[in-house]
Symmetry: C2
Subunit: 279 residues, 2 copies
C-alpha cells in the first residue's frame, strides 16, 4: 500500500535524490482505528525539517488525501504505521540541488511492529551501542534520511539476546537517544532529557512529554547527559510515536545497571493514555 | 541508461534501504573512449566500504557485465560518467538490517559534466562553506549515501558567482575536503593532505596522487590542516576521478587569498596525464 506523489505506483526513479544522497525527510505515525495520531505535530516537524534543508514541502491536504486513499484499502487492522517520506526530488548535477526541484512524496501504510504489547508495563533492557552519533548542528534534530548511524547501531542490537534497544552516545560521550527513540531520566522528582543541538532527532512524543510535564508541574531540564548521570538516575524511559513510553528496567553494560520503574514514569504513561496520546 | 540488478529497468522499490536510510555506497568513474578509468581501485574501495557497513557486495564480473551492456547502447560520446550505486537492498523492520538482505546494484552511464575543460590549466576559485562536516570514525572515509552535508554545502556554492567549488571544514575547524573533491596543499616542496579518520571521503584520485608522490620522491604528510595552514601554503589543488587535478588560484574569504599555480601541482598533473590516469 504505497502512493508516490498521490499515484498508486510501486516504484521510484533511481535518479531520486532521496536514494542518491539521502536528500529528504520522513515521519512515522501511529494509526489507531483509522486515525493517525498527532497528525499536525508530525506535519509541522516535517515542514520545519524541509525548511532547514531547503526542500519545498507538499501541502498538508496533499498528505491527507494520500492517507485517505490508502485507508480505503482493505486489510486494515486496528493499528498500523503510516510512513510519510519526502525527498527533494530528481536530478541536479552532482550534490547541488536543482534550481527547480519537484519533491517526491511517498506515503505508505505498514504493519504494526511485532514487539510484545506488554513492554510498556514490564519495561525493557537496553545496551550501550558502540556506534556513535556524529555532531553537526546543521543536521541535528531533523528526521532526515541520512540514517547510517542508526542502521549500524541497530545491527549491533539485533545481534544481542534479550535486549530491546540500544542507547547511543555522540562522539563526545554525551548520551543522546536510543536507535529509534528519545530518552528521559528522572532525578530527584524532575525530568532530564538530552539536548539535541548537536546530535539526535527531536521526537514528536518527546515534545508531547515536555508539554505534559509542564502541565503536571514536573520540572524538566534539557541538558547534556553523561553515562554516569544516566546510571545515577532514579528512573529512565524511552519514547516515540509508536512505543509511547517504554520504561527502562536495566542497562546491560560492564556492570549491569538496574532501574525501578518509578512513579513519574508511571504517571506520565497514565496521563498520555488518558489523553489518547499513545497508540 | 540504467541497469538495476543487471536488468534494464527504470525504477526501484520505495522499500529500498538506500532511499529510506541512505544505507549504501556509490562510485563515480570517468569513462574515456569506452574504458572506465581505475576500475579496480574503484571496485576495491566499494568492497572496502561495503565491508565496513556489513553489506554483501556483488561480484566484480557482475558490475563489469552491467557496464558492458550499457556501453553497447548508442549515443556514447568520447567521455562519460559511470555511476555504480550499491544499497543493502529492501526491507528490514525499521533501521535494523534484514538478516538476509539482497543488495541492490544500480549502474548508470551519465553525461560528462559541463564544466569548462580549461579549469585544469587556469585553476579555480573556491569559497569556504558555512556547512560543516560532522565527525564520526565509523563512517569516515567511506563513499556512502549519507550526503546531506555535501548537498547543503553545494547549495551554498551554487548561489555564488564565479566560484567553482567550496572547501568544507569539520565541526572542529579542520579543513577536510571540498564538496566533491579531496584537497592537497604544497608547503616547502612537500605535500600536505587532510587526514580522513574522522570526516571526509578517501578518494581514488587522492590515492593515485599519494602513489605518484611516492614514486616521484615528493614527501607527503597526512595531517590535520587548519585554515591558517591552508592560507600559508605555497600551492593548493583539488582532485577527484572526474576533474583529475584542479589548481586553486584563489579562496574567496574575508580577505581574498591568492595562490600561484606552482611547479609541484604542474608536475603532478603532467605525471598523471603521462600515465593516462586522468580523463
Amino acid at each position: 500500500m504505497i502512493l508516490i506523489n498521490g499515484i498508486s505506483s510501486a516504484e521510484i526513479s533511481p535518479n531520486d535524490r532521496g536514494l542518491n544522497y539521502g536528500d529528504g525527510l520522513f515521519e512515522t505515525l501511529a494509526v489507531v482505528d483509522n486515525q493517525p495520531q498527532h497528525w499536525e505535530r508530525h506535519l509541522n516537524r516535517l515542514r520545519d525539517g524541509a525548511k532547514r534543508l531547503g526542500i519545498s514541502p507538499p501541502s498538508d491536504p496533499d498528505w491527507w488525501a494520500d492517507f485517505q486513499s490508502l485507508k480505503k484499502l482493505p486489510a486494515q487492522t486496528s493499528r498500523s504505521v503510516l510512513k510519510l517520506l519526502l525527498t527533494r526530488g530528481q536530478g541536479g548535477r552532482g550534490y547541488a540541488p536543482p534550481a527547480l526541484a519537484q519533491p517526491t512524496r511517498i506515503v505508505r501504510l505498514l504493519e504494526w511492529p511485532s514487539w510484545p504489547a506488554t513492554l510498556a508495563d514490564t519495561g525493557i533492557s537496553v545496551a550501550i551501542c558502540r556506534t556513535r552519533l556524529g555532531r553537526n548542528p546543521v543536521l541535528a534534530g531533523i528526521k532526515h534520511l541520512n540514517r547510517l548511524e542508526q542502521v549500524l547501531a541497530s545491527a549491533e542490537i539485533a545481534a544481542l539476546e534479550g535486549i530491546h534497544d540500544g542507547l547511543m552516545m555522540d562522539v563526545e560521550n554525551n548520551v543522546i537517544e536510543s536507535t529509534k527513540a528519545n530518552l528521559f531520566v528522572v532525578k530527584n522528582g524532575g525530568l532530564l532529557t538530552p539536548q539535541l543541538h548537536h546530535a539526535g532527532i527531536c521526537g514528536v512524543m518527546r515534545d508531547l512529554i515536555l508539554d505534559e510535564a509542564d502541565r503536571s508541574g514536573i520540572p524538566v531540564l534539557e541538558t547534556s547527559l553523561s553515562l554516569s548521570a544516566l546510571y545515577a538516575a532514579d528512573e529512565a524511559f524511552l519514547c516515540n510515536s509508536l512505543i509511547g513510553i517504554w520504561p527502562i528496567h536495566s542497562i546491560a553494560a560492564t556492570d549491569r545497571h538496574l532501574f525501578d520503574i518509578g512513579p513519574i514514569t508511571r504517571s506520565l504513561q497514565q496521563a498520555l493514555k488518558n489523553r489518547g496520546a499513545v497508540p
